[in-house]
């Protein structure tokens, strides 16, 4: 069974958005601190990781179908196993 095309497309969009947010400069005032000790440049990336966690949950849900482990295939005979190197 395969993942649905819409699910894979949605995952693709999510991934692109996250990568763009990772590459762009960190927004906000770098002198801010979160909880009194976390510099904003670090806190921003913690928030980014929270978003990444949501994307991973989606990836392992709709975009990744359940399936049984595949069966071992018998070796091919020399007539069947052509190669190029």
């Amino acid at each position: 069974m395969s993942a649905s095309t819409p699910a894979r497309r949605t995952l693709g969009v999510m991934l692109v958005v996250l990568v763009v947010l990772h590459v762009l400069p960190v927004p906000g005032d770098p002198s801010w601190t979160l909880a009194g000790f976390l510099p904003w440049d670090l806190a921003y990336h913690l928030l980014w990781m929270a978003a990444a966690t949501v994307v991973v949950l989606y990836m392992t849900g709709p975009a990744w179908p359940e399936e049984a482990p595949p069966q071992r295939q018998p070796p091919l005979s020399s007539d069947e196993g052509g190669g190029d190197a």
Binding site: F37, L46, M49, W64, P70, E80, D84
Partner: protein, 492 residues
């Protein structure tokens, strides 16, 4: 009890637990190659996750990252931790999952064997074997370097760097060679728990010792405020930032010792759960690691160059009780052993499967396993030699290895997703990628603002496509045997 005796006692307890787990695993391991090298492909979620995490986490995280953050500040977190929280699960999905299926279909025990079968090319298996050895040996060195530094600092040189490195190699080889994959995976569950617990306990302990979280950060604001912002230092320039993110995201799945642990998974659920656990656990590891370096810059200033690799053990020594210092040492040992056991086992299995079995197809399983064990011993000696040489900092050595592994990713992606991929294309990709990587590494300044890994990856992709289109693909039966019949959706 004196400090050295306390440290020794805690470490002996740790080593005793590891030995017991290894012995139990040995008694439950069958004699076949699949049992020894992959644990019979029966690992469930907790074991798969902890084995992958234990293999993935090395002194690069516990020692190298604090050392890097000491010089470059909080930007190190975004540069490394954030992107791999997404990159590692994504590559498990895109490469790990189809590779797991293909390995089961063709009965492959090693990554090189899998791709050699998929592309019907024993020659590709040898090329991959060479590439994996060349890039895994330096990575092995970073692990042993880390433990040598930690032990010598924490014991105040009562145990020398050289002795610590030798001891860790001997103990790890003992349980790896006897118990195989099952021993390494089971011990990794315990070892992962130890270093995860260490990082959390040390985070709170060191912060308390520095006067609390806010006071520790405030001290940095007074002494080195530039470390509290990402700024525009060279590692964080846009091109370097993007290309390093690419490298560190793609490299993990190309570690042969990671891929074989994926092969050992019992089912898809174990792989999915592993992906789900990765991001939150990475926060637990990397947030303390980066803050140790940043806080350490104010608390223990003046460490130059690779001397900053010592900042974590120095903080532990200054701010934690003796028993916790022992736990810290055990945690570093755990991080090291849980990685090098997998690396040794995987390299041993590749020699047996990808070289010896090719030369002697009728070899018995027990002889194949014996070859693997002999190669493990040889590698341990080579590793020790490079550790004594100690050519660069932990981070620099890891960068070399990580970049090299990335050159193998186009071959993996192509072989698992593009049926037109050929062995000629794969070999061209590996050769071209590494050639461009080495040429760009030799430059004093980054080419076009990008790290060498980006140029090498581009060359590897172009060579894979061109080489594949210009050569004859394997027969359809070969492709179907590894990938299954074509599905209308084109899913992996």
């Amino acid at each position: 009890m004196s400090l050295p005796m306390t440290l020794l006692t805690v470490c002996l307890v740790y080593l005793a637990v590891v030995a017991v787990i290894g012995a139990v695993a040995y008694r439950r391991t069958g004699s076949s190659s699949e049992e020894y090298f992959l644990g019979g492909r029966t690992a469930r979620t907790v074991v798969v996750f902890m084995a992958l995490l234990g293999t993935n986490v090395t002194p690069f995280v516990i020692m190298g990252i604090p050392g890097l953050a000491y010089h470059h500040g909080v930007g190190v977190f975004g540069l490394n931790a954030a992107i791999v929280a997404l990159g590692i699960p994504w590559t498990f999905y895109m490469i790990g999952w189809p590779a797991w299926k293909a390995a089961r279909r063709v009965g492959a025990l090693t990554p090189a064997e899998l791709f050699a079968e998929r592309l019907a090319s024993p020659g590709l298996g040898v090329v991959l074997f060479i590439a994996f050895v060349v890039y895994t040996l330096p990575y092995l060195v970073t692990s042993v370097l880390g433990v040598g530094i930690a032990v010598s600092v924490l014991t105040r040189d009562a145990v020398s760097f050289e002795l610590a490195a030798a001891l860790i190699l001997v103990v790890t080889i003992a349980y790896t060679a006897t118990g195989g994959m099952k021993a390494t995976m089971w011990t990794n569950v315990f070892q992962g728990s130890v270093f995860l617990g260490l990082m959390v306990v040390a985070f709170f302990g060191v912060a308390e010792g520095l006067g609390g979280f806010s006071a520790a950060t405030e001290a940095v604001r007074q002494a080195a405020p530039e470390l509290l912002t990402k700024g525009d230092r060279p590692p964080f320039a846009p091109g370097a930032w993007a290309s390093w993110g690419l490298a560190i995201s793609l490299t993990v799945i190309a570690f042969p010792h990671m891929l074989v642990r994926i092969f050992a998974a019992r089912d898809v659920a174990a792989l999915k759960n592993t992906c789900r656990l990765y991001p939150p656990i990475l926060v637990l590891l990397w947030l303390p690691a980066v803050m140790f370096g940043v806080w350490g810059a104010a608390a223990i200033p003046g460490l130059e160059g690779r001397a900053s690799d010592q900042i974590f053990p120095l903080l532990v020594q200054a701010h934690l009780e003796p028993v916790l210092q022992g736990v810290a040492l055990a945690g570093v040992l755990a991080a090291v052993m849980s990685t090098i056991d997998a690396q040794f086992l995987t390299l041993g299995s590749m020699l047996s499967r990808d070289v010896v079995r090719r030369l002697a197809p009728d070899i018995e399983d027990r002889h194949e396993v014996a070859w693997g064990r002999a190669f493990v011993l040889l590698l341990a000696v080579a590793t020790y030699g490079v550790v004594l040489w100690r050519p660069a900092s932990i981070f620099d050595i890891a960068t070399f290895s990580f970049s090299g592994y990335v050159m193998l990713v186009p071959t993996m992606m192509g072989a698992l997703h593009w049926r037109r991929t050929t062995a000629v294309g794969a070999i061209a990709s590996i050769v071209a990628g590494n050639a461009v990587l080495l040429l760009t590494m030799a430059r004093d300044q980054p080419l076009g603002g990008l790290l060498p890994v980006a140029w090498g990856l581009a060359a590897a992709i172009v060579a894979l496509v061109a080489g594949s289109l210009l050569s004859r693909p394997p027969r359809r039966a070969v492709i179907d045997r590894a990938m299954g019949p074509v599905e209308p959706s084109g899913a992996p």
